[in-house]
Symmetry: C3
Subunit: 304 residues, 3 copies
């Protein structure tokens, strides 16, 4: 005989009592993905005025429009930052001071939007210059998922530097879901950055990237998978990529001591676990493509 | 002269009559992606209480809250399962018995939510332990797309085992769209599973995965592409991965007879078409990275 | 002392004045991603009648339903195309003639929906035949992200051929965000096309693809990254793939002169920069997988 809905409810509640670690009851409200998605969308409208608004913004109304939007963003973000601080209060800060701290962190962050715009302008230009399929800066901003991914990373990076808990990662995962690019808020990324196509690109937490670096879809700057796990927290685990490096699709570069020297090119699907000097061309040794007529005997094992 | 809207309508309706196979007229209503998305979101709230709700859930109200949600999920899911059964009725079941069967399948499935929670707790712990960038189980659940992808796969797998038509695949494709991970509901996946970053990961229908397996973005457990096509339905076409295997980014493992032995490590971008024994380290033979100063003559053919 | 919201607003407005190239003020309204998303969803309902509607469509009401939907699509699309033309007016067309042109382009495009359906029927059949996990054409249409990606590309390609500015790329990027497949509207794609799993697949603007081609997730048909950049606009920069080619996961094929001959197979993760004749099997030379017991001394450098 099947169970009733009441039986099912009781069973599940018993499981909440028995299986810990994946419940969040009686706690403080956590920051929410959907609310952080809303505030991040509004931040993008502040960064690229007129691009993501439903109506034309005229200069004459600009001040009023932006003041209203800024006010709204400020309230919403402060609210989420407060939830983050409540979840993981910084050492030495009393509970009663958390709301003041949330206010300060929010205002400091919003004061850095012009700085983020300075960086993003160089990224948009790099995307336009690097892609013959692009018609104009406008098309790049309206259509390219990379612009959204890097804008959110650069915003989240500012909050990460201020040690705001949870929010930076939720912001970049919101963008990850929309763009397929997993750019950790901790990564330090120079100017004129561009990831073409972008889906599957991964930039780990302690990566350091110079200026004028170009990457393609599926490129990973990742950590070794060691038994260390959580013990490695805080250590540099991801590569350093110097200026003017190009990394082709699906290459994987591993490890915190790995540095790719300035001006180098890394071929597609390369798995690089060691440093290379400036101006290197990195590909596989003794690897040229093998072209076999399909009836050739030696090719049997490749009959895929 | 351009056509009128009426002309355009008539033309298109003529095409519906002429080109079959991609129309669905006068039929039964199919299960819908958007409705299944709604019910899957609610199932995630049942699995991880308090994490995806807009307000704090207190233990005192827990029973009432969960009972209401369970009731709603039960109705919605039963409705979709009924549509699925109507589309593809199981052999030997009379049309008049379909709604009773839909009810039974729904209740049986919801009775297994505690079992799914048991498995998911091990996945969340594997993610937390394996990723030094993770701050806590809470961050993993709130932010990591992997948690959503594996939760939906484990739910869909239960419906798949009961041969519910269409719904399991629509559920995992809903998650695929949101997370970039294509985890087929048919795959058998052990405990403590983790896919880091995740975008582009593919686990095919007949894959079998042991305990404590870790994968990265872009890893594919796929089938050979043979002329067989539909004739291969039901056969084991995807690999077996034993316990404690690590598979780095963008590696592709192919074929139903391919087994990766326990404790093995597969390097990034490897294309593996044969079995390997336990504790293997699999990478390319004679393949070290080739580092060439860019002016070197021998590098000309790589001037990419 | 922290800044006030008024200070923050003034700062940001000063940045709008100082940092150009990423503002869009006082201009014409650009086509919008969200509005184009809406019209694209409606176009999918016209292409696959009954599959994405919330209620059953009966033949008796078909004409009325489709006429209403066609009317709505026509208005919305004409509106967006007008914005696109206003942004980048075609040479020799007076401003006062833009709205007539927008109307004409819209009607011409909608007149080609039956042609797009002819092509899509072959894609759905290729997906069904090629994937033993597929139960039926219906499941393929309802669940597979590939169907959405290729339908949107084929629609956008018609607008691209008519040189409609911005809209085609915004349409394919809308689908890219939902499916992980980046299929440029410029690419010429033959019949019976299928990309299995699909996440991370990239098909560049000047690619040419024959009939009965099958690709997997992460495959890229891309351009060389040359200092040329924008100077290369309009040149053929992406590969040609002839009939009956299969390309396994994460392979990257580069360059406008690169042709993969009919009937060839390209292995996973191959980086191909040169043409290959018909019926080739392409994989790496001297590359077999290396299987090392993990304690083996020679494997030390791979202790990843």
């Amino acid at each position: 005989m099947s169970l009733t809905v009441t039986d099912l409810t009781n069973q599940l509640i018993a499981s909440y009592a028995k299986v810990g670690g994946i419940n969040h009851l009686d706690g403080k409200n956590l920051p929410s993905k959907s609310r952080i998605g809303t505030v991040t969308s509004e931040l993008l409208r502040l960064l690229f005025p007129g691009f993501f608004d439903e109506h034309v913004i005229h200069s004459s109304e600009l001040k009023v429009e932006i003041a209203m939007l800024m006010d709204d963003v400020c309230d919403r973000l402060e609210n989420e930052i407060y939830r983050g601080l409540e979840y993981a209060p910084p050492e030495g800060v009393a509970k009663k001071d958390l709301s003041k701290l949330a206010r300060k962190l929010t205002l400091d962050f919003l004061g850095r939007l012009p700085h983020v715009r300075d960086l993003l302008r160089t990224d948009v230009e790099a995307a336009f210059r690097g892609d013959p399929a692009a018609l104009s800066n406008e098309e790049v901003i309206v259509a390219y998922p990379f612009v959204e991914a890097i804008a959110v990373q650069r915003l989240a990076h500012e909050l990460y530097k201020d040690k705001v808990p949870l929010i930076p990662r939720i912001m970049t995962e919101w963008a990850h879901s929309r763009t397929g690019m997993d750019l950790h808020p901790g990564a330090k990324i120079g100017t004129n950055f561009f990831i073409d196509h972008g889906t599957g690109a991964v930039i780990g937490e302690t990566s350091v990237i110079g200026n004028n670096v170009k990457m393609y879809q599926g490129v990973g700057l990742v950590a070794r998978s060691l038994s260390g796990g959580q013990a490695l927290k805080g250590q540099k685990r991801h590569p350093t990529i110097e200026d003017r490096v190009t990394i082709y699709a699906n290459a994987t570069i591993v490890g915190g001591d790995t540095t790719v020297g300035a001006g180098s090119t890394i071929g597609a699907s390369v798995f690089l676990t060691q440093s290379v000097p400036p101006n290197s061309l990195v590909t596989y040794e003794n690897v040229d493509v093998k072209v076999t007529a399909k009836r050739d005997k030696t090719a049997t094992d490749f009959q895929i």
